[in-house]
């Protein structure tokens, strides 16, 4: 009995730790979706680029990936702003038969990034040999009489905590600063925001930068616990997409809950169905969300708030 509970709790813990990082990825995509009304299908590729940056910072200069959190996200912020300003904005102005040609543009950017990465860095799997990679804490170390034994991998816990801190910082920015409020206002009603004196074009650029910086931060947090290869981008674009659908398009809290949910679900699938089945579990969640909860987690929250 205790053994089963132990397995379950351990799975839950791993799922939540993974989910925290997923949430960070999902928030970036959902922010861009909210303001631009487009799905950024190069989101995972941006994370891949960020991970290579962190990888080379470590390999060439010995900068710890957690320390590169101070370097890589700002660089990717600028990179994201550039994508919006020089690639997406010109496409926005084109009248075309395809209503969402910006989305197709993001797919193209993703392909270019992935192939450039393959060209320069080969498709080898890489990882960073950080000293603390296999450090583990045990619950019994902290609580001697605990009836169950759980293990916590140090880099997973640190990455999760940092993801929480970054999410809180983002929340503060969006809730308390004028720029943050302007971003939310642009997402809710573009014309009304313009009447309030919001420079909507600039908000788009900032938002794309912010979304890129967030996923870049997630990349820095992933690299001590994950391996890196160019095609990892498309895998994470899909994950971000599933989280965004699961959370309810454009909702930040939805993306957080969606990320946690997906993390737990994948972890459960891996434990109880089989290691290789986690991606399958991901798509079960995706289809189930589309069929049974089209508005995502956000629609549940909204229903409660309005008392319906």
């Amino acid at each position: 009995m205790w053994v089963q509970a132990e397995v379950f709790l351990q799975t839950l813990v791993s799922g939540l730790l993974l989910g925290g990082l997923y949430a960070l990825i999902g928030i970036g995509m959902t922010l861009i979706l909210g303001v631009m009304k487009i799905i950024n299908l190069t989101h995972g590729q941006l994370m891949m680029v960020a991970m290579y940056l962190a990888f080379w910072l470590f390999t060439l200069f010995g900068i710890d990936p957690y320390l590169s959190l101070l370097i890589v996200p700002p660089l990717m912020f600028a990179f994201g702003m550039g994508i919006q300003k020089f690639l997406v904005n010109p496409v926005l102005r084109v009248e075309s038969i395809l209503p969402h040609n910006q989305v197709i543009l993001t797919v193209g950017i993703g392909m270019v990034l992935q192939n450039l990465a393959t060209l320069f860095f080969t498709s080898d799997y890489r990882s960073i040999p950080v000293g603390y990679a296999s450090t583990v804490w045990y619950l019994t170390d902290l609580w001697r009489d605990s009836p169950v034994e759980l293990s916590f991998s140090l880099p997973w816990v640190v990455s999760f905590m940092l993801a929480v801190v970054i999410t809180l910082m983002l929340w503060f920015f969006l809730a308390k600063t004028d720029t943050g409020k302007s971003i939310r206002a642009t997402a809710q009603d573009r014309d009304a925001a313009m009447l309030m004196g919001v420079h909507v074009g600039w908000m788009r650029v900032i938002t794309f930068g912010l979304g890129s910086a967030l996923v870049a931060a997630a990349g820095c947090l992933f690299i001590p616990i994950y391996y890196l290869f160019p095609a990892l981008g498309s895998q994470f674009t899909l994950i971000a997409f599933v989280i965004t659908i699961l959370g309810g398009l454009g909702s930040t809290i939805g993306a957080i809950l969606g990320g946690l949910l997906l993390g737990v679900f994948e972890s459960m699938t891996a434990t109880y169905v089989g290691m290789g089945w986690a991606p399958a579990g991901r798509f079960v969640v995706f289809v189930a969300a589309l069929v049974f909860l089209p508005g995502g987690v956000a629609s549940l929250l909204k229903r409660r708030k309005l008392g319906k």
């Binding site: 004028d178 939310r184 809710q188 009603d189 014309d191 009304a192 313009m194 009447l195 309030m196 420079h199």
Partner: protein, 234 residues
């Protein structure tokens, strides 16, 4: 003060406004009346820069507005309370008011202006932390007006402020507009509620299929045979 000179405005190839001209003097309440689709909202949207006139000009105290970016207009002292309120429904009452004072000197005076708005609309003060989408229709309109006032405008434009409100609230909104004028603001109002609008307006212009067809004092218009037949249903 606010002068609109021969503007021609198009939606794509479709011309909506034809040589529309009128002006609003300091301290006046000026009304634009007309049927659905006559171009009233289009006129306001052109003044606030959401639409560009193909020709003609819009000036405020002699300064041309039609060449400015819409997000800079608010700093010149023009506020637009849009049709259907267009609140930021997922933000609180207070955040919506903050959004009204993003730019220029209004930002520095945000706290004082907010207290002024709350004293004008005590009900908003009680609900300052409530999400604006959950307010009643009347409260939402008050918030939209309050948000417009937050920018410390010289000219405030109202687009259908009484739309969808219960008759008792309609009266309240018109009282508030009168009070706003008494506090020294200039008002341009677009309304389908012609009788009540003409009662508070100093002057009015009639817009028909994108052209100004009549101009005159508010009270005179109330007694005009054409206006009576077309808009007052008498």
């Amino acid at each position: 003060m606010l002068e609109i000179k021969n503007i021609n405005v198009f939606y794509g190839d479709l011309q909506v406004l034809w040589d529309v001209s009128f002006q609003v003097e300091p301290g006046e309440i000026v009304a634009l009346i007309g049927a659905n689709g006559a171009g009233k909202s289009t006129t306001l949207r052109t003044i606030s820069g959401l639409l560009r006139p193909k020709s003609g000009e819009v000036t405020l105290d002699g300064q041309p507005l039609h060449s400015l970016e819409p997000y800079d207009l608010i700093t010149l002292g023009i506020a637009h309370v849009p049709e259907a309120r267009r609140l930021f429904v997922e933000m609180t009452v207070e955040e919506n008011l903050d959004m009204g004072s993003l730019r220029g000197p209004a930002k520095l005076k945000r706290k004082e202006t907010k207290e002024m708005v709350f004293s004008l609309f005590p009900r908003l003060s009680e609900r300052r932390r409530q999400q604006s989408g959950t307010l009643s229709g009347g409260e939402q309109q008050m918030l939209a007006i309050g948000r417009g006032l937050m920018g410390l405008p010289k000219v405030i434009m109202f687009d259908e402020p009484s739309l969808g409100l219960a008759p008792i609230l309609v009266g309240e909104i018109f009282e508030i507009i009168k009070r706003i004028r008494e506090e020294g603001k200039t008002v341009l109002i677009v309304e389908q509620n012609v009788r009540q609008t003409l009662a508070i307006a100093d002057r009015a212009y009639v817009l028909e299929t994108g052209k100004v067809t009549m101009a005159g004092k508010g009270r005179d218009m109330l007694n005009d045979e054409h206006v009576k037949a077309a808009y007052l249903g008498v």
